[in-house]
């Protein structure tokens, strides 16, 4: 390798190292701002903003979904399997919305720690399988066969 090329190689290396370090530091310091949603634990611990809107993400707790008799208002609990937050929402829910499903809700904390949502999005996992496979997995799960099937939001 000629000395000129060696010099250029060092320059390229320095360029890459500099850009990588800069970006890594920037991303590290903005880590909290780059999170798309707050898990229920953070909300219960008071880490979520109290006076402006934020997103809450987690699973719809099984058995918690209640529909108000007249209208589009629903209430449910969002959990990260440690803590849960009560959510109230008026509007159309996405097709994938159901108990046990991961969701991300946008809104703000109301009186009594209730999260008043004005948008609810469904979050699905990275698994793809035919319905019959999902059904047999569920059956095996019910029988007490432990699989790595816990869906993380």
């Amino acid at each position: 390798m000629t000395p000129r090329r060696k010099k250029r190689l060092i320059l390229v290396g320095l360029l890459l190292a500099g850009v990588t370090t800069g970006t890594a530091l920037a991303l590290y310091s903005f880590k909290q701002n780059l999170m798309f949603f707050y898990p229920p634990s953070d909300v219960v611990a008071g880490k979520a903003p109290a006076h402006h809107a934020f997103r809450l993400g987690g699973l719809v707790e099984k058995g918690s979904l209640k529909r108000r008799p007249n209208g589009l208002t629903v209430e449910f609990d969002v959990t990260d399997l440690k803590k849960s937050v009560h959510v109230q929402y008026t509007g159309i829910l996405p097709d994938l919305f159901r108990e046990g499903q991961g969701i991300v809700a946008k809104g703000r904390l109301g009186p009594g720690g209730i999260f008043i949502a004005d948008e609810v999005l469904a979050k699905h996992d990275e698994k793809y399988m035919p319905p019959e496979v999902a059904a047999s997995l569920k059956k095996a799960h019910a029988k007490g066969v432990t699989t790595a099937e816990t869906q993380t939001p």
Partner: protein, 247 residues
């Protein structure tokens, strides 16, 4: 072997070699595309959660993989351009940029079409979607910078610097769904451990990914030939080509 690569670095040899190779790559692409589409859209089972809608995966995921792969090709070309001044590397990087931008655009559009029925929104500013959008802007910036400089060799060198600065975005796109919580789900196939997708659904996905690869190689070689002709139009070897000289 090294001798072959040295030969490939010479524009006249590359021009002939690419011209002979490109049609074959195109044929392989077509075969894979037909089998992959049929297998993915007709044979593969429906998804337990998303029903038939998940089938857009057969366009969305290969397009997204290509958007990253083409950028990595351009980054390697940028290093070859900056250190060794390889002309062919400049040409391939130039020819790759519009293809990379197209695949990124396709990934964003199909993702948006998929997001509306499944998530309930066309777009959110989460880590994955935002970093992929930045990739599109990088491609467009690279194309614009190349065209803004009159001298092609100077243009290629400036573009190489921009390409290398932008390469930091590639791991960010890949790890965005792991480092931060996002609306986009985590990786299904590109991770350590077994893919979380049924084999009957995975095979057409891989076929489609290979079809997209062959499409890229076929088109980039043809585009590179056109770029070589334009750059070297005043040289003797181009003047003597039958397709330039005419009968």
């Amino acid at each position: 072997m090294m001798k072959f690569f040295h030969k490939l670095g010479s524009p006249p040899y590359f021009y002939g070699f690419a011209g002979r190779l490109a049609p074959w790559l195109g044929i392989i692409c077509l075969i894979l595309l037909v089998i992959g589409l049929y297998d993915g859209l007709v044979v593969a089972p429906t998804d337990y959660q998303q029903g038939e809608s998940y089938r857009i995966i057969y366009i969305h995921v290969p397009a997204a993989w290509m958007s990253l792969f083409i950028y990595m090709v351009m980054a390697v070309c940028a290093v070859l351009t900056m250190i060794w001044r390889v002309k062919i590397a400049e040409v391939i990087a130039t020819a790759s940029a519009p293809l990379g931008a197209s695949f990124t655009f396709l990934a964003l559009v199909t993702g948006s079409l998929w997001g509306k029925p499944m998530w309930g929104t066309w777009w959110v500013w989460d880590g994955r979607l935002t970093s992929e959008l930045i990739l599109l802007f990088l491609y467009l910036g690279i194309i614009a910078l190349y065209n803004a400089v009159e001298d092609k060799r100077t243009a290629a060198r400036s573009t190489a610097v921009l390409t290398l600065v932008g390469v930091v975005n590639i791991p960010i796109i890949h790890y965005s769904v792991i480092w931060w919580n996002t609306l986009h789900q985590g990786p299904t196939v590109t991770k350590l451990g077994a893919p979380s997708i049924d084999p009957r659904m995975l095979i057409p996905l891989l076929l489609m990914a290979m079809a997209f690869q062959f499409y890229y190689f076929a088109v980039v070689l043809m585009q590179a030939r056109a770029e070589i002709l334009e750059r070297e139009r005043n040289t003797a070897w181009v003047q003597q080509l039958p397709e330039v000289n005419g009968p």
